[in-house]
């Protein structure tokens, strides 16, 4: 972090002595963090091995909750839906976000306000995003009827059919979160060293070659950060789905977060829900570690 050698550092610390020491400065923040994230995490682990009946604790039951989760076909169905949702959304967002970042990375007239306009979707509450798209999708009031009408098709009632509802929620995710990937990649592009690019340009490399041979490899670390962040967030997607489809029709858009929420707050099965989410956390962590390892290896 800092390159100051230990003795001078200690001497400096002595000069600016704060009664009780620097640990006192750290304490309130540590308490706040522990109170709302670390303690609840342990509490969640405890809940996952507790038997709940009608929302009340009835002692420990070991790994029963986990066993139930693993034998629950709806859990696996929700996991599959979540995986499909995340893969579709994040892939499209990455491609679009990269294209957009390349498009506006250089300075141009009205660049500032235009960039703000492009990222507005990610700044407003996901619930409001859900409302917006409800207003676009719903039959009788939205614009999908009109657009389908241009092609002579019957009103689609997008949110009422399995496949179209799934596509519809992916579209919403892409609309809302492409700006995030765009923003991260834009920052990445603007901080790339220009010399190698200039050198390659002087050597006569075309735009496409320039991108694949130079820009993309240099951008890869930032790209990985963006994809990782977005993937983690996408796995927990809840708000827009809750507003748009509540997981329906049937179970076609029931992501794991919706299923866990229902298990906990509609069925009062806190233990089962906690076991479900901890299993998910474990699987995602393993997947992420494996992915990072693989990418490191292929990069080396």
């Amino acid at each position: 972090m800092t390159q100051v050698s230990a003795p001078t550092k200690r001497a400096r610390a002595r000069r600016g002595r704060i009664p009780g020491g620097p640990y006192l400065l750290l304490l309130p923040a540590a308490v706040a963090m522990a109170g709302v994230s670390i303690y609840p995490l342990f509490y969640g682990v405890r809940a996952s091995i507790t038997h709940y009946l009608y929302g009340r604790e009835f002692g420990r039951n070991g790994l029963t909750n986990y066993r139930n989760v693993f034998h629950d076909q709806f859990f696996w169905e929700a996991m599959r839906t979540t995986a499909e949702y995340v893969i579709c959304a994040v892939t499209i967002e990455t491609l679009l976000g990269l294209g957009l970042a390349l498009l506006v990375s250089r300075e141009f007239r009205f660049g500032g306000p235009i960039r703000v306009g492009l990222i507005l979707p990610m700044t407003i509450a996901p619930v409001v995003v859900g409302v917006m798209w409800r207003l676009l999708y719903d039959s009788g009031i939205g614009v999908t009827d009109t657009i389908w009408g241009w092609f002579g098709a019957a009103p689609p009632n997008v949110l009422a059919h399995n496949t179209s509802a799934f596509i519809a929620v992916v579209v919403v995710d892409v609309w809302e979160w492409t700006p995030l990937i765009f923003l991260i990649l834009l920052a990445g592009l603007q901080s790339l060293p220009q010399e190698p690019l200039e050198a390659a340009r002087v050597d006569g490399a075309g735009r496409v070659r320039l991108f694949f041979d130079h820009t993309l490899p240099m951008l890869t670390p930032v790209l990985l950060v963006a994809i990782t962040l977005r993937t983690i967030d996408a796995i927990g997607t809840f708000d827009q789905i809750y507003v748009l489809t509540q997981g329906g029709p049937g179970t076609s858009t029931r992501l794991i977060s919706i299923y866990a929420y229902n298990t906990a707050f509609l069925d009062s099965q806190y233990g089962q829900a906690a076991a479900m989410l901890l299993s998910l956390l474990a699987m995602v962590t393993i997947l992420m570690v494996a992915a990072v390892r693989m990418l490191r290896k292929s990069a080396a």
Binding site: M33, V116, V127, V222
Partner: protein, 275 residues
Amino acid sequence: MSGRWSRVGFYLLLAAVLFVALFPFWWMLDTSLKQPIDIFGGATLYPHHPTWDNYSRLFNTYHFAAYLENSIIIVIFSVTVSLVLGTLAAFSLTRFNLRFGLNNSALVVALVVRMIPGILLVIPLYIMLAQWGLLNTRLGLILIYTGLNTSFVIWMMQSFLAEIPRDIEEAAMVDGDSRLTALWRVVLPLAAPGLAATAIFTVIATYNDFLIALSLTSTTDAQTVPVGVSTLIGKIQIEYGPMAAAGVIGALPILIFALLVQRHFVRGLTLGAVK
């Protein structure tokens, strides 16, 4: 010649992308200003008989003032407190040589804590608040958001504070400042852009949160704007006009905020996402 055409193409493409990004906003505003008969009267790109009806219903029938009041109070308190706690902690981490490798491990913990999905925390938080009698209170939400924001503030502020040379505050201390007054008088003004960026990201994250507020509140005593918006949906018959108006009101504070802090806005979001 080709340069000009590619410029035209560039702006056309941008216009198309901007249209996709912004049209849903316009459509929501449009719907919120329509009368019911026009809402169902086919897609029109502007309200032919504009009315404030939906908005007055929103505030008179659906208690939207209460949601706004809750949201604003909760955001102000939790963001302010977490900025103070997080900045002090970040200051300690960047300026002192702590034991047990705390300088690094505390940062790792802050990052990991930020990565825990909200849905996983909600169930234990619900049980905890129920035990303390803080369910459905503003105080309960303020405490929780403060804690969740603090890890983020530490992570952001330590990177800003680390960039500020110590010589400056040590000069102030030679002039008679203590370490803390030097932080207040000298270091913080230098870190102001970073502090602004951190505050922007924290305000947005707190104001927009839905899952935690939904699970831990049940009446207008403590429900926030996103929860209020969601109460207008899922009824048997959806009232699209008030729902659209609710969406507009829900988005407005952030949009105004974005205009006010425009210069720092993109930077704040970028750093918030990357760091």
